[in-house]
Amino acid sequence: MALISHESSVTSPLSAPQAPGFTKPHAVRPLVSAHDVSRQWGKGSNAQLGVDRVDLNIGSGELAAIVGPSGSGKSTLGALIAGIDRPTSGSLVVDGERIDQLSTDQLARWRGRNVGIVFQDFHLLPTLSAAENVELAITLSGRSVGRSKRRAETREALSSVGLADKVRRLPNELSGGEQQRVAIARAVVNRPRLIVADEPTGSLDQAAGSTVFELLAGLRRDGTTVVFITHDRALAAEADRRIEMLDGSVSRHSAGGVDVRIPLTADTLVAGVQ
């Protein structure tokens, strides 16, 4: 057991190598720190690798884009970071918590407090109104908030996405863009440190998509870290950090327009020798 311990990576997480001239102050301390993270389905000959020994850091308060061709493992990586899936190996620290070691329920509680998740197809609860969907997130976060404060926060969150007049609508009565904005309100209402969005604009038209993206990108201002997955080059270009995936691995990683060196590991050494 001790042989494959990843304790060292917890006590001294790999710091994001700083490129010259890259001086975003809040990017110094990483919020997400993945070390040797893999996600595999099935066993033996059926084994399928979604994410293959990924090492990366995402700084606090950054807007990070994960890009890459279809099937390259973007969603899988996003799910791992958001704590809705668990790595089969490797260590994953988010905001100081080893989330790969939490139990199912601990992980759920952790998500409720620390992450907001936005999906391509919204995943609002269909039987709840916009306001109820948002309020539910407060309830599940375990924050002890009084009823009236809950209502107020809900209204505020929905106003911030421009839906103050549609709080009582059911998801079925909202357009796709509106539903996605409710999902963003739901994600931000607990003021989480991290937001993970998997192709949040993928199901939306140009106009609705850019509204949604502006909302997400704007969260940076409050120091929220936003990780988003996209196929859209233009959107990715606006990110502080770009993580390019290929066949489950990070093929290119740049921050502030400068490449981040992939740390030297035994494997890359061997690969270099070959």
Partner: protein, 741 residues
Amino acid sequence: MQFVSHLWREVRRAPARILTSVFALSLAVGAIGVFAIPTVAASSLRDSAERDAIPQIVLRTTDTADVDLDTAVSSIANVEHIEPQVLTVVATPEDRELDILGTNLTNQQIDIIGVDAGRLPTAFGELIVAEDTLRLGTTWTVDAADGAPIELRVVGIGGTTFWNGEGVAFTDRATAGALEGVDGANRLVVRTSDTGKEALRSTASEIRDVLSDGGVSTKTLPLTIPNGRHPIEADIEQISSLIGLLGIVAGLVGLVLLGSTANTLITERTREVAVMRALGGTNRAMRRRLRRLAMGIALASVVVGVPLGVLISNLIARLVLEEFVGLTPGVAVSIPVMIGSALFALVGARLVAANAARRVTNRPLAAALRDRDGSPFGRRLSERLVARFATGSILDRTAVRNGVHRRARSVAMLAQITAAVAALMIIASLATTVTDYNAALDEPVRWATSTYVPGPGLDIDASLADGDPRAEVGSTIEGEVEGWEIGVYGFVPDTQMIDRTMDAGRWFEAPGEVAVSSGFAERVGLDIGDEVTVEIASGSHQYTVVGLHPDRDRTVFIDVDELADDMNLPGMGNVVMSLDDEPPAFLSGPIDVERLAEDDDDNGTAAILLIFTAIGAVVVSVAGLAVASGLAVSVYERRHEFAALQAIGGRRRHVFRVVVAELIPIAAGGIALGLVAGYLGAAAIMESFEAANAVEIGFTFASGAIPAAGAVVVAGALLIGGLMVRRVTSRPVAVVLRGAA
């Protein structure tokens, strides 16, 4: 072949769901098989009645020594064969009593003895005994009627269809005759050519007449067994009608299950079908496809369910026959019930499927393509209304709204829980009613022991108990009133052996007066002051009803001396009743003591309850499975929703909470409706029983079972809900959501 592979693909796509559906439906189809039980039971009974040449008429008489039987009955055309027998009783080495039937063993023609071990008796004193009475080789000595010792020896084990289940021994007539002190016979069994009910009645009375011309009197009403039936068949029929009623409950549960299964299967394909429609599939073709799917499931259920039904009905029929007749039947099959249950599943599936398919294909293509699981929430007015209803926690709200959204399934589950609870309550209520009725039967009784001496008629001198203030001689004989078998009970007018408190009128005093059980009187339209015609062994007699007694059986109470006169046996009775726990000391010889405490009906009651329980278990498990599969599908279908809930921080208990909150109103409603339906159903069954038996049975609702029924429903729902939630939430949220789009 293509159809089979198509079906197979469907099974692989959602194996758990399809297999539960098939299994539950099979069980429902199988449960309909209980309808076959009466047929199955009757056919085995009739087979054995035919094989063993059951008698059509049985008469018990005084000694026929002075009559040449064959000549006497030769004038009666319907008589094929008459067999003189002697019935007597001895004490076994363990001092239990043993009926011994003496009959012609060299040329058996009626109620033929089957030998299981050893052999038939060939010498004086040899016996062949029923199973579980005495061991082969047992030898002991008893006194003959004339006092001479006779050595009895068991040489075989065996029995007959008529005597099945009774502790009886068979020997030759000489041995039985010596034991009983009878030179001729005291029991006559007759086979006739016309076995119709009326023919048997008139033949029996002709035999009675020729015997009485020869100075022989019959002492019991002749037993007639018409149409090749088995003597036990009438009793079985009653149980059968009950079983039939429970079969209807099972069928209803099955129907609901069938409907909801077919409906779910088709509705959940809305989007898939929409895609095919978009690609150019015609509505007609799509409907055909959907109907085929439902028919495939139904067909698979029939293939499994019909044999299951045969199995269930045969198992229960075997249970009935073994308990009541001690007969192990062969496997029997009721073709009409098999075809019926198969048609039930196929036609039902076809109707429901056609309807659901039409609904699915009639949805606007755009809407159908958009939604994942049938129709989105908020399209119906009821859904929008319930969405305005914003009380309770948000999780509870999702639960209630989902219940409204999936109203078809909610109603189906409500119906299934109702059926399960109703079945439980009906069975429990029948059990309590039967128990209470048996207790009520003994309520007016004041004697502690009643002692009979062996013999076919009135064999006790009525003055025998004159010196004993705690004992009385009475008579109990069989009779008939308006076609109903009744008990005719002779008591002294001021008897202390029975509670003489009346419902109306008074106890008999003067000659020609009788009291009648009030429940029976009411059902045959007898009232105080009416004349009643009572058929007894000696013929028809008329009496005046002067009182209605709370007795719950079918009984006529009459002065013991008058009854003796009417039986042409003046001054005689056949039972000594005593207030003491031991029979009076003046009785000696072989006697048959019945103590009130030990109810001889207990076995019968236990058997009936056992059968109810068996059928109830089938019905309840069908309903339980239906509820379980409905609940499982419901939870499984919403796994994406639950995953979304988990993604935003919901823990397992939150998911469980939603499932339970949705279930609570359904379960509560189902329990409430089930209790009402159970009450009404059980009351109706009991009423039909009262009508069928012309007695007042009364009705006791098993309110004691309510907590149990509730607990079963609640515990079952929590268990299944918990298991399903566990299963659904144990997969990573991301993996579940991946399959959502």
